[in-house]
């Protein structure tokens, strides 16, 4: 029943040693509950979430702790029942290594759920709008690693093709692979829901050919479903086929234009884990409070996939997998290509945590400092976005914003292919990240200086207006005095005396009244 449409390919890319076997040996194992959960308010792309609770509040499992801060934002939910211990800055898995605002929940181990009303099968009687709202309220974001709010992607317009991304092209990571092996039917139910929302006519499930078990499990589920809505598309194992735009090119042979969304070429792409999370939300009214994460690498004793509550300390996950091995070196969140190293394991698993990779010392072959570029052009050959990595490198080094933008710096997906093949070991992606964040910073500064200019102009205008008003008042007063007194000093005196006499009369009248009151009593 395999679909025999020809598939396309994107330029560049790499074939990498996958090391996937490390963590696929055992079934998904469930993490035991911890005492404390740390939930960062920013686990997604977009605006930071706004907390709805305060320290000391009792919260239930699945209760919304923070609401989306803007249209592109996501809600955060409590993974357990307990109390809000604090809302404070805490270490978070972010490439900057900085702290961010987190809600800390103390578990009471009572496992009390918030009141739930699952839609179940009857979801197909709900409108797309209502379902999108439910998905938004459940805090669901793309679980492939990009963490873009899912409901925002599911636009109002109808989209013909839904692509389920089960590619998982990065080495070591196997969480989507095992999810497809073990929960294929649930993934299809989730895809059905998305298909209902966007009125899709077909759903293509893309899986790399190095996952035969996942392919057969998904195929079995599709055969059971029997509606003809789903098709599997097996694609060759090339990194980074799992990138949204790369995958769309492979499947449809269409390129998403720069600055546009896939919906504009009639395609919507969701990760299989996102489809699974949507299934949990619609069928069990369970918001996104857990995910499957791969804990792997030669630096962990028992690499495996775990089902883990969002907010669980990473140290607990590593402990669950037998702890660190003796020659462990570096803790990385994400894969070896796009992941970033963490200074501590005292930070929570977040929605983006698809993998915790612990490398062994022997694996670290990169030099500390890099050699000069020799212009070999290898980076150009492997770039999946057809950029000119070495040109971008020169311009990033010389901080030439204009040229960087001309060379489409912001189309770079930071896949790391260029840095991987570079014979001089130039950390190219770091240069691009430096350039991107610097340009964002300049943009922010420009915006705030524009506001400051407006406020200063308003300030000047206000001062000018006040000055004029004061002068006007003074002028009026002078005129008034002139007309009253007729420029005569004695007149002035007599008017003053008259005023005094009036005041004396008023005081006497008052006194008389008071004494009268007294005598009345």
């Amino acid at each position: 029943m395999k679909l025999t449409t020809t598939i396309s390919k994107f330029d560049g890319g790499l074939t990498l040693v996958a090391y996937k076997h490390l963590s696929t040996g055992s079934a998904i194992s469930c993490m035991e509950e911890c005492k404390e959960y740390v939930l960062p308010l920013q686990q997604h792309i977009g605006a930071i979430s706004q907390p709805l609770v305060k320290p000391g509040d009792r919260v239930l499992k699945g209760q919304m702790l923070a609401k989306p801060g803007d249209l592109v934002s996501a809600a955060v939910h409590s993974p357990v029942s307990g109390t809000v211990k604090d809302i404070t800055a805490h270490d978070v898995p972010h490439i900057s290594g900085l702290q961010d605002k987190c809600i800390i929940i103390e578990n009471d181990f009572r496992d009390e759920w918030v009141e739930r009303e699952p839609l179940g099968e009857s979801y197909n009687q709900s409108t797309s709008h209502d379902l999108r709202k439910i998905i938004r309220d459940a805090g669901i974001v793309g679980l492939g690693g990009a963490v873009f709010p899912s409901s925002v992607k599911q636009t109002e317009i109808n989209i013909r093709t839904l692509i389920l991304n089960g590619v998982e092209c990065e080495p070591y990571i196997t969480c989507d692979d095992v999810l497809m092996r073990e929960r294929a039917e649930e993934i299809l139910s989730g895809a059905d829901i998305i298909g209902h929302i966007i009125k899709a006519r077909q759903c293509i499930i893309a899986i790399e050919d190095n996952k035969p078990e996942a392919i057969s499990a998904m195929q079995a589920a599709i055969d059971k479903d029997g509606t003809g809505f789903f098709h599997i598309q097996v694609i060759p194992t090339v990194y980074p086929s799992g990138g949204e735009k790369q995958l769309i090119k492979i499947i449809t042979n269409k390129e998403v234009p720069k600055g546009h969304f896939p919906a504009e070429i009639d395609v919507l792409c969701h990760n299989v884990a996102t489809a699974y999370a949507i299934y949990r939300t619609i069928y069990f009214a369970e918001p996104l409070i857990s995910r499957i994460a791969t804990v792997t690498g030669h630096g962990v004793v028992q690499p495996q996939n775990i089902e883990v509550l969002i907010g669980t300390p990473m140290s607990a996950c590593i402990q669950h997998c037998g702890g660190y091995s003796e020659d462990c070196d570096e803790l990385i969140m994400g894969g070896p290509m796009m992941g970033f190293s963490l200074d501590t394991d005292n930070m929570p698993v977040v929605k983006a945590t698809n993998c915790l990779l612990v490398t062994a010392k022997a694996e670290n072959t990169h030099r500390q400092k890099h050699l000069p570029c020799i212009r070999c052009g290898k980076c150009v050959e492997v770039c999946p976005v057809r950029l000119l990595p070495q040109q971008l490198y020169w311009y990033a080094s010389s901080k030439n914003t204009e040229r960087l933008l001309e060379h489409n710096l912001f189309d770079c997906i930071e896949c790391g292919c260029c840095a991987y093949v570079c014979p001089s070991d130039i950390p190219l992606v770091q240069y691009y990240r430096f350039a991107k964040t610097t340009i964002w910073q300049q943009e922010r500064e420009r915006r705030s200086s524009d506001i400051a200019r407006q406020r200063h102009e308003a300030h000047q205008q206000r001062l000018e207006k006040q000055k004029q008003e004061r002068e006007e008042r003074l002028r009026q007063k002078r005129e008034l005095l002139k007309s009253k007194t007729g420029d005569n000093e004695s007149d002035d005196k007599s008017s003053k005396q008259a005023a005094i006499a009036e005041a004396v009369a008023r005081a006497q009248a008052k006194k008389a009244e008071q004494s009268k009151n007294k005598s009345d009593k």
């Binding site: 500390q368 490198y393 200063h456």
Partner: protein, 186 residues
């Protein structure tokens, strides 16, 4: 001979009329160079350049009265942008006017000490201080440009400078280290 002179005279007067008309029709309000310079300045209105605000400084640069390296809040980036715009040589910040901050700053009012004198409100160039006479004042931190102009007038020294640390949302990645100091010329 005559025809040539007459023809040239007619052409000359024709062009004269066109030029005179376009000078009136396309007259540019204000000075666009000043606007362009002003757009590059950080708008803190701090006066460290010795001019009473960013726009007066921009005017002074445009008239050739001031140098491009007198703006500490803008720092190297602003000087480079100004050098680019005016096509002059880059020069390092003039230390007489102050030092470039490593981190942006804002001020906060110690509300326990504030006596509500309104002097800081009058000093703030961007109306970022809220309060009234004999009422406690407070700084609207989002609007504070870090110019510190409110500090000298305060009679009770209750305004303090705070650095704004980067967050995960405003973080800027470090420049990677190379073995060679700079890459080969591109």
């Amino acid at each position: 001979m005559f025809t040539v002179i007459i023809t040239l005279a007619i052409i000359a007067s024709l062009f004269g009329i066109i030029l005179a008309y376009s000078a009136i029709r396309f007259k540019v309000e204000g000075d666009p160079v000043v606007d362009q310079i002003d757009a590059l300045l950080p708008q803190t209105q701090c006066g460290q350049c010795t001019y009473p605000g960013c726009r007066p400084y921009a005017e002074a640069i445009a008239n050739g009265e001031a140098d491009i390296n007198q703006c500490p809040p803008g720092g190297e980036v602003t000087i480079m942008a100004l050098a680019d715009l005016l096509d002059v040589e880059f020069k390092p910040l003039n230390a007489e006017h102050g030092e470039e901050k490593t981190l942006p700053t804002i001020v906060r009012i110690d509300e326990q000490t504030c006596i509500g004198c309104t002097l800081c409100i009058q000093a703030c160039p961007v109306d970022a201080i809220l309060g009234a006479a004999k009422q406690m004042h407070t700084v609207i931190e989002k609007e504070c440009t870090g110019c510190n102009l409110c500090i000298p007038p305060c009679p009770v020294d209750c305004i303090h400078i705070f650095e704004v640390n980067p967050t995960v949302r405003s973080w800027v990645a470090e420049f990677p280290e190379a073995d060679s100091a700079a890459p080969l010329a591109g």
